[in-house]
Symmetry: C2
DNA sequence: CGTGCATTTGAGAAGAATCAATGCCCGTGG
DNA sequence: CCACGGGCATTGATTCTTCTCAAATGCACG
């Protein structure tokens, strides 16, 4: 891996930790523990392979900066991107259940990632039920994201799928504070979008023109502006998904901490 | 729900508990605890809705007998089955991360299910790190199943998808001890298969004829016989997925038990 | 021996893939 | 300063896959 070690303090406060607090309100002390899970962040160039397919998983990763993706590749060269990773995402966690990784992790832009060895992760998981609960809920939430992708790919047209993808990216970037009003920078090519949606590059282009013609989005270079948010939601058959909030059945105050 | 209460001992030893031991070798005492999670099993007829879409999740389910599925339904009536559930499966777990359930759980045959209230599940999850680890790994394994479905639907032809579905059902039934040699009973209609694969009923029928003509499977009524297992695997671009076995990073002996 | 559900078949239409150019933007080197 | 080349986006023409509509067949069950 063609990587560059970074001064850790440079990124440790910038990274979007918002994903860890989605389900459990961690205390500052707990947040410190979670930050301690990762190795020193490393920078990788665009197209770098962060983790290979069909190797034994010994770690997973946090994406601190940039965009990346998980790709399943077949012998004949076909590939399908099964997850677009945005800043703050954990990457490679499903593989911990397997003897061999199921997918590639690839940088779509220059990225900064931190490697989390399974040993260190396991220690915290076992010692902190609150952390275990957060990880469990987060895995279940990712299953929902996959379920949504699967149902969309099976039952909606190409342009509806594109609309849904743009909405998904918009909402996730907004949660990470990476949008300005209804605009965001789409850091991926149409070829990558084709790999995400399971379409051909040519057809993605035509779908783009369609959602533009319908007055749902505007494009100028890489900047996407949502022209009509509610119309876009309707067109994409968008289903709002709010996080569970009543979690006292699984999330309790941390007994290892003094009140 | 049009349900019938059953004498519990009638089913408590029959159910396929094999799914719980996939990652963690539980002791008999632990198994007892896990069995105690579920309410008294109930029987439901075919097509019964086990859990509604867009309601608050307060429990999930174990499927003790029969087949069921998780379905995402859209306003216009389109629906996509996102998971085919076979005996032993946990059903509805992804919903615990949401304020509202994302899908319907529906019986595809007469079923026997047991309801697991979140409170009871949460107590065991918090008190037993081994159990928490098993649930975490199992959720990650389900993500892999969804990733595989997503990549197949995006990148393979209809008949390849059908071949992969038949293989998937065969292997899962074999793990539950519900196959005889290379034969199994396919308890679902072609319309259901269409909902699973994201195809039309008519095209499923033609795909069936294709895999039959290719000499990969044979059909007599509902009985499917795999005519050439390795050829079927190759045709379906089947990817073997073995469970992770080196789990000492997260699975430790249960400290609450005496040696 | 109907009746209802599931499977099968046919024909035409629509959606998406493929093949093949062309255009555009931008950085690089002459 | 401009010609060139590479990567990406766009367009056109054609082919192939899958869908839709419609009808017929088969099969189980009262």
């Amino acid at each position: 891996m063609n990587s560059v070690l970074l001064d850790s303090e440079q990124v440790l406060d910038s990274p979007p930790m918002h994903r860890f607090n989605e389900y459990v309100a961690f205390s500052p002390a707990e947040i410190e523990q979670i930050r301690g899970l990762g190795d020193k962040p490393i920078a990788l160039p665009r197209l770098a392979v962060i983790q290979e397919q069909e190797v034994q998983p010994t770690c997973f990763f946090v994406l601190l900066k940039g965009w990346a993706c998980a790709t399943v590749r077949y012998q004949n060269g076909d590939q399908q991107i099964t997850k677009l990773h945005l800043p703050g995402d954990l990457m490679g966690t499903p593989n911990v259940s397997l003897a061999q990784t199921a997918d590639f992790l690839t940088a779509l832009t220059p990225v900064i990632v931190s490697r989390i060895p399974l040993e260190r992760f396991g220690q915290l998981f076992v010692s902190s039920p609150r952390f275990a609960a957060a990880m469990f809920l987060s895995a279940q939430r990712e299953r929902i994201a996959l379920i949504d992708a699967l149902s969309r790919n099976g039952r909606t047209s190409s342009s509806e799928r594109l609309a849904a993808l743009l909405l998904d990216i918009y909402e996730r970037l907004a949660a990470a504070g990476c949008t300005k009003e209804l605009r965001f920078e789409l850091l991926i090519t149409q070829e990558i979008i084709a790999d995400i949606l399971g379409l051909s590059l040519v057809h993605v282009n035509r779908s783009f023109k369609k959602v533009e013609t319908l007055g749902l989005v505007r494009r100028t270079h890489k900047i996407i502006e949502i022209a009509d948010l509610s119309a876009l939601r309707e067109y994409a058959r968008w289903q709002a998904r709010s996080h569970a909030s009543q979690l006292n059945w699984i999330v309790h105050p941390d007994v290892t901490q003094a009140d």
